[in-house]
């Protein structure tokens, strides 16, 4: 049992940190511009495909830098030539624009790399055992994933709290007119933040690509969970996003390892369920089967109990 707990903890942390990389970029964009970027997970997917393609040309380490960079430029382009035009029509139009963009990016990926999953294996450069735990070796690339995400969190935190640019961006969150009056180019800040957020998504794509399956549906599969993270953590709060990512990562990983259902609980509590009851099927669902829906259950519970999320400050 100790073994299961240890490995679940590790894997849950890896998954949670991956979710955090995605949700931090989304949160950043949301808190500055009030835009929920539906194409965020699509940029993540682009990051995975780019890294695979660039790795084939020049190797993994350059790809680790170049793929996020490319995603950052794409993000800047989306803001500069797409969203800015829609901005005047309000948030619904912006959400819809990115929603359409998610469709288009998904199809472009199919156009470039086909419908089937690509063989995005862990590169040989980082595919070795980092350490042994309970006689099983733990792969280095997962350690690298953790390292990169933690470094990113530290970087974001310091960049926001300690640098001049970070302070200007923070001020632009709440007082865009004032910041603009002080001579800062707020639209350019928007482009910059969109680029940073997209680059973070791209980075997550590089290291998440070989942990998950790299295929055209990966954006659609991961996107909703990232939104759950953002809402549960509190819209616009980066520490909140971190908490929620870790919680959901651990929750899902532990749930997969646990093979219990309500029926087992009822048995312990001496409640008898008739074998022909129509609800029996509901009670018989194992926790491991229910893992995919847990984030959504959490979302709904959160909205009932604490609508602003863990660390959110506003209710909208």
């Amino acid at each position: 049992l100790k073994e299961i707990v240890a490995f679940s903890l590790l894997n849950g942390a890896v998954y949670g940190l991956l979710l955090f990389m995605l949700s931090s970029g989304l949160t950043l964009i949301f808190s500055l511009m009030g835009v929920l970027n539906f194409a965020h997970a699509s940029v993540f997917m682009l990051g995975a495909y780019f890294s695979w393609q660039i790795s084939r040309w020049v190797g993994f380490w350059p790809a680790l830098v170049l793929a996020p960079l490319a995603c950052g430029f794409i993000g800047a382009g989306i803001e500069r030539w797409g969203l800015r035009r829609v901005h005047a029509r309000g948030h619904v139009a912006e959400i819809l624009y990115t929603f359409g963009l998610a469709y288009v990016i998904g199809e472009l990926v199919i156009m470039a790399w086909g419908r089937n999953p690509i063989e995005n294996h862990v590169p040989a450069a980082i595919d070795f055992a980092a350490f042994r735990l309970f006689g099983t070796s733990y792969p280095f690339y997962k350690v690298l994933m953790m390292g990169i995400s933690v470094a990113m969190f530290a970087f974001l935190y310091l960049a926001f709290k300690r640098t001049r640019l970070g302070l200007v961006i923070q001020a632009a969150l709440t007082h865009p007119q004032m910041v603009s009056a002080l001579g800062h180019d707020v639209p350019r800040l928007f482009v910059l933040v969109f680029a940073i957020g997209s680059a973070l998504a791209g980075l997550a794509g590089v290291i998440g690509g070989f942990a998950l399956l790299t295929e055209p549906n990966m954006a659609a599969n991961l996107g909703p969970i990232v939104f759950v993270v953002v809402v549960v953590g509190g819209l616009g709060s980066i520490p909140g996003a971190f908490l929620a990512s870790m919680l959901i990562g651990l929750l899902q990983t532990f749930a997969v390892a646990l093979d219990y259902s309500w029926l087992d609980l009822f048995r312990v509590m001496n409640i008898h369920v008739a074998p022909d009851s129509i609800w029996r099927e509901v009670w018989a669902v194992k926790l491991s089967q229910a893992a995919p829906i847990l984030p959504y259950v959490l979302l709904v519970l959160m909205l009932i109990v604490r609508p602003r999320g863990f660390l959110g400050t506003r209710e909208t």
């Binding site: 199809e107 472009l108 809402v231």
Partner: protein
């Protein structure tokens, strides 16, 4: 009011004669018409949310799908001897949609705006994932089947033919469209418009916006469930796909492309998108890309959608600027065609290479054979696209000027 009655009568006559128009008499064409009708009910129900109340939902297929499942189980009960004729099955769907709309609506409509959008998304994923976990009710990936013909005959009809199914759909489309139209003219409907435009003000005059959102949401869910019931009758099968995020996204695209500000917009969108889904997918595998681009274009340039575009042109039809507008269109149109031709060719070649490598490099596009292994088709298409787009941007000021002139003229008349 009399004009309205005439419009409804005309709609009824149109729906009645539609399957007899030459070219629409085949079973496949009538099946397409039936699908359009089902999509029309669904899109109208979605427009109650997005267009009328300003609620952006990413999970509306939940009510369509649950209504569909309720209907298919109801139809199974009929197959086993319940003495109710097939055309009444959608009522079961509507009731199921209403019930789930009330339960889930109480949760989701506590907020409007972005949070509402996200909750509906999450709830949609939840319901879809749960449906795969409970196979005895939802039938897993294969779905649940029933027969629409093993039921008591109604007015001597057995509902074996596509034509009869079409008429059932057309009947329910007309009824639900009339009901929704009337509903929007009740005080609740008017308040929903007010909640969309300015919730604070609604609250200030003493109404609870949350309650109004909740009522609109439940009613909308009921009509979505009715559409699901029609789906169940038409296909005689309901599977998990019916409540998937894909279907929720499709109805959003329909309503927005059709136009959210006009009642007819949802129908226009449903007809256009269903037609695209069915016929364009015969010609190209890239149709989703075209749909996505169309949607982005509408969001960025034509916020009124197809209906808004049509209304815009109707309003200038009698002005003197109409001639100038028509002329500017004539100038711009060839460039638009050239640019699209180039872009479509590029997309088609790239798609073919990526998704059907086994089909080889030789292909035929717009009746022209080409060898995609050589650079010439790519280069030619790229030149067409770039030159066409450049010329179009040069020709566009003329169109804009003509519209400005029309605007001035209309303004002058009003003043």
């Amino acid at each position: 009011m009399r004009g309205n009655a005439r419009a409804w009568a005309a709609a009824a006559v149109l729906l009645a004669v539609l399957p007899w128009i030459p070219g629409l008499q085949s079973d496949s064409a009538r099946s397409l018409l039936t699908q359009m009708g089902i999509a029309g009910v669904f899109a109208l129900s979605y427009n109650l949310l997005l267009g009328q109340t300003g609620l952006l939902s990413f999970g509306h297929a939940v009510y369509f799908g649950l209504g569909g499942y309720a209907s298919i189980h109801f139809l199974r009960a009929i197959n086993h001897g319940l003495p109710i004729p097939t055309p009444f099955v959608p009522v079961a769907g509507a009731l199921a949609g209403l019930a789930f709309g009330i339960v889930f609506g109480a949760l989701t409509t506590r907020r409007g705006g972005t949070v509402f959008a996200l909750i509906t998304l999450g709830l949609g994923e939840w319901v879809h994932a749960s449906s795969l976990m409970l196979p005895s009710f939802f039938g897993g990936e294969e779905g649940v089947t029933a027969s629409r013909t093993r039921a008591p005959h109604f007015l001597g009809l057995d509902f074996g033919s596509q034509l009869q199914v079409y008429y059932v759909t057309a009947f329910w489309l007309l009824v639900s469209a009339a009901l929704m139209y009337a509903f929007m003219r009740t005080p609740v409907g008017r308040l929903a418009n007010a909640v969309r435009d300015n919730p604070e003000r609604v609250e200030f005059i003493g109404y609870n916006p949350q309650r109004i959102r909740f009522i609109m949401f439940s009613v909308s869910a009921a009509f979505a469930g009715l559409a699901g019931g029609l789906h169940a009758i038409n296909y005689e099968i309901v599977a998990a796909e019916a409540l998937s995020a894909t279907r929720s996204g499709a109805v959003l695209l329909m309503v927005y492309i059709g136009g959210v500000h006009h009642f007819i917009g949802a129908i226009l969108g449903a007809v256009a998108i269903t037609w695209l889904q069915v016929s364009l997918s015969d010609y190209t595998t890239a149709w989703l890309l075209y749909l996505g681009l169309l949607f982005m274009g509408i969001v960025a340039f034509v916020p009124g959608g197809l209906a808004g575009l049509a209304m815009m042109h109707l309003s200038v039809l009698r002005t003197q600027a109409m001639a100038a507008i028509a002329r500017s269109y004539l100038v711009a149109l060839p460039f638009f065609v050239i640019a699209s031709l180039g872009a479509v060719t590029l997309i088609e070649i790239a798609y073919r290479r990526a998704t059907q490598p086994e089909a080889g490099a030789l292909m035929r596009l717009f009746w022209i054979p080409m060898d995609t292994a050589k650079p010439w088709p790519w280069l030619g298409a790229a030149v067409l696209a770039v030159v066409g787009a450049a010329a179009l941007t040069r020709a566009w000021p003329r169109v804009a000027a003509a519209w400005a002139q029309a605007g001035e003229e209309l303004h002058g008349q009003r003043a």
